[in-house]
């Protein structure tokens, strides 16, 4: 038995879905967060059913991917529909509801976000007009869940008769909702702020402040976690323990070196993923989740649209970029709601080329902050510059047409701590389950190759490039080889080499522009095709060596 959860974007469907199924679906205060749909099992009494979180659409005209998915699901003979209306934007929700009723399926309706209007929406009137049961809810506070569950129970038991199709024009939607709706009250303080934040003044200065503060927060919290919590724990307790245990069992030799030597498996497999990367995963995703839930991101998109127009994109394309600062995989997936395929490829390419993932950023910070605190903003500014330049080039080369922006700007909301914590946990858990292990395995393989001398041989072969052109020590070939597997590994091994400032910067630039990691290549091949993935490999490889080399060559002439 399948029940569909349908409604316009950003009405709280995903929150409701989570409350009903206990599955962690992603939610954000950004219209159109659910690109893929999610299914989850839930039960009412002893009846089990499958709930589907259908992507939010404004309409059912099959004009974009989300709408096509929704239509396909409606035609797949579900047992019933739970339609979610937005108390604050009743009219638009009503229009979609009327369209859904045309399908003649058993339907019940929920007026969600009813805390955002002052007074109560007249559900009895709606129910009487449409001939379907209607309840109100506040998904974020779990209010009205029992009523929804009992309606779902009715759906499953066949107690709700199929809806009667009726006219679904705007006039009808306006009529019903204007009678059921409560007048919007005065703007409150947070709304007024919300409006100020999209005005160029003071919106742009605020946006710059927000970005700088976010950066500071991510770096500060990440470093704090690392220095105060994780490292003391590792260095004080865990590592001595491991070393003691190993030296007790293994005597001197290659094996000992592999286990706890320079690239010691037991030390690095723990220290790199958990000590260097994890703190920044936590701080970055906390910051991103706050930005997402507060509804600030659409504002940023609107403010930055003018700039993005220059490279043929629209401000809403900032989302893949921000996600890319976490990991390129979800960033590339999130480009699915871009209709134009070439634009999708362009955004994905820009993310792969010039946006460092959080793991790599963490590694940059560890590497550069020790040498000079200014190198850290320098490399991130360089990344922005590179993205823009690359965008300009891609626009020309790919002949990208300008994107037209139509974007709802939802009200600012105070993020709900519970939901925030949950989101953060989903993301951290994902790193722990999918990120740590591959990284550890690769480090282990690298350690074996290194200790057995294989890496050194390959390194020697790359010497003209690495030493002659890039001005780096010969060992720096190692991170470039490892970088094929994970992006942060292009940086981390540099930590133990004694590099000058110029070398640090050159190496960082190469690492930044260098090829995407293997997981990203996989996603590129899956989302587009092998050819695109191969192109991306070649282009990033060539550009990173070219730019890094130029920086070194020019700097060494000047200095």
């Amino acid at each position: 038995m399948e029940v569909l959860l349908i409604g316009p974007p950003n009405v709280g469907k995903s929150v409701l879905f989570n409350r009903l199924t206990g599955i962690d679906v992603f939610m954000a205060n950004y219209p159109g967060t659910t690109v893929d749909y999610k299914r989850g099992h839930a039960s009412v009494g002893d009846r089990r059913y499958t709930l589907v979180d259908v992507p939010g659409t404004y309409d059912l005209e099959a004009s974009n991917e989300a709408e096509r998915v929704a239509i396909r699901m409606l035609e797949g003979k579900p047992s019933g529909i739970v339609f979610v209306l937005d108390a604050k934007n009743l009219e638009a929700s009503m229009h979609l509801l009327l369209q859904v009723l045309e399908k003649g399926l058993p339907t019940v309706a929920v007026v969600n976000r009813s805390d955002l209007v002052r007074g109560k929406v007249d559900t009895a009137f709606i129910s009487q007009e449409l001939g379907i049961p209607v309840v109100t809810s506040i998904a974020t506070q779990s209010q009205g869940l029992d009523e929804i569950k009992s309606l779902v129970g009715d759906l499953l038991e066949g107690k709700v008769s199929p809806s009667v199709p009726r006219s679904s024009d705007w006039r009808e939607a306006e009529r019903i909702s204007s009678q059921a709706k409560v007048p919007l009250g005065e703007m409150d303080r947070i709304e007024r702020w919300g409006e100020l934040m999209v005005r160029p003044i003071p919106g742009i200065p605020i946006a710059i402040l927000v970005m700088v503060a976010t950066f500071g927060f991510v770096v500060g919290l990440g470093m704090g976690l690392r220095q105060m919590v994780i490292l003391p724990l590792f260095r004080g307790h865990l590592f001595p323990f491991i070393e003691g245990a190993v030296t007790g069992v293994v005597s001197d030799g290659v094996l000992l070196n592999i286990l706890i030597g320079d690239y010691g498996v037991l030390i690095k497999t723990i220290e790199w993923p958990l000590g260097l990367v994890l703190p920044y995963i936590i701080s970055f995703y906390l910051a991103l989740s706050i930005l997402e839930d507060s509804g600030y991101l659409p504002r940023l998109a609107v403010l930055i649209d003018g700039l993005f127009r220059r490279i043929g994109l629209s401000g809403s394309h900032i989302i893949p970029f921000l996600l890319g600062y976490g990991c390129a995989v979800p960033a590339i997936m999130s480009t699915r709601n871009i209709n134009d395929r070439r634009k999708r490829i362009m955004v994905s390419a820009m993310v792969c080329m010039s946006v460092p993932c959080v793991a790599q950023s963490g590694a940059f910070i560890s590497l550069l902050a020790e040498a000079s605190i200014w190198l850290v903003p320098a490399i991130f500014l360089f990344s922005l510059l590179a993205a823009f330049t690359f965008g300009m080039v891609l626009k020309r080369v790919m002949g990208i047409n300008r994107e037209v922006m139509i974007q709802e700007v939802p009200d600012l909301l105070l993020p709900d701590l519970n939901i925030l914590g949950k989101k953060l946990w989903i993301r951290v858990r994902h790193f722990l389950s999918d990120g740590v292990l591959p990284m550890a395995v690769i480090i282990a393989v690298a350690a074996v190759l290194y200790e057995t001398g294989v890496l050194i041989v390959i390194g020697e072969m790359m010497e003209p490039l690495v030493v002659g052109w890039l001005g780096l020590p010969a060992e720096a070939a190692t991170p470039l080889l490892l970088g094929v597997f994970r992006r942060e590994l292009t940086v981390l091994p540099l930590l133990d080499m004694d590099l000058s400032m110029l070398q640090l910067f050159t190496a960082s630039v190469v690492a930044l522009l260098y090829i995407p990691c293997i997981a990203v290549i996989g996603v590129l091949a899956k989302e587009f095709d092998l050819r695109t993935a191969a192109y991306m490999l070649i282009v990033t490889m060539v550009v990173s060596f070219a730019v890094g080399g130029l920086i070194y060559q020019i700097a060494s002439i000047i200095l």
């Binding site: 160029p200 609107v302 649209d305 127009r309 401000g315 709802e408």
Partner: protein, 291 residues
Amino acid sequence: MGLRATTSDLSDMNDTQFNEVTQNHGSERSGLMVLMQNGYKRMEMTVSRLPLLGNLYGRIFYGPLLRREAKVAGLEEGSKVVVVGSGHLPLTGIHLAKQGMRVTCIDNDPEATSSAVRYAARRSHSGELEFMTEDGIHHDYSEAEAVWVAFNVSPKEPIVRKAVDDMETGGKVIYRNPRGLLAKVYGVVSPSEIPAGHRRIRHLVGKDSLVLVNRLECDHCLRKTLCSLEEGCEGVIAAGPEDPVLRALGIRPGKTVRSLCRQPLGGPLLACVDGRKVAIDMDIARTITLV
């Protein structure tokens, strides 16, 4: 601004006299204004001897601004235009000529005309460019398709009015109004008091450009759209594109829409319908007409 009639009578005098007389009139705002005008003129004089500087400013800032004004006014190559108050550094005229227009520059200061001629001789352009010494208030604008009235021309409003009256249906007058503090010092010429349709262009920095269109019959230029709606004002939508998302967001005929603000660098316009904020691309905002 009771001073206007007086200063226009004095417009043949040279700078110093001009300055003294207005100061005798004692109005502080106008004194300051004249002071600033003269300062501006001196600056232009200096810059006209440093072609590189003027060139740079023109490329980066002034050229795009003029192109925008010309686009809104619907002017094309070959259009016949007049620039009133072209000054020592006739950037307006040169840029318009570069866009292929036939330009006549007038200035009531013979010195300005002669140094403008000298400056222009060193610039290349594809249009026609001629200079005359004449006061803007006496010029006959009936042949022109568009008239640019420079910022420091005075008396501005009578000249703007005369140009609107002289020209044929659809003729355009372009002038600029300062914003904020400068508006207090200089005063503004309010477009709504002149019998012509108008569109306001807000630039990222500096002044507003106003494009006046004479005769109310010109319905294409006078069409009120969401884009021409002034910030903070409300209008009722007459028609718009048949886009399902726009309609769902409340951009439908009959809805009252408020224009909140515009984003820089040609970014979207922010509108509010039923308490819902929607960012709409300028190209689309221009197609949403109001009653």
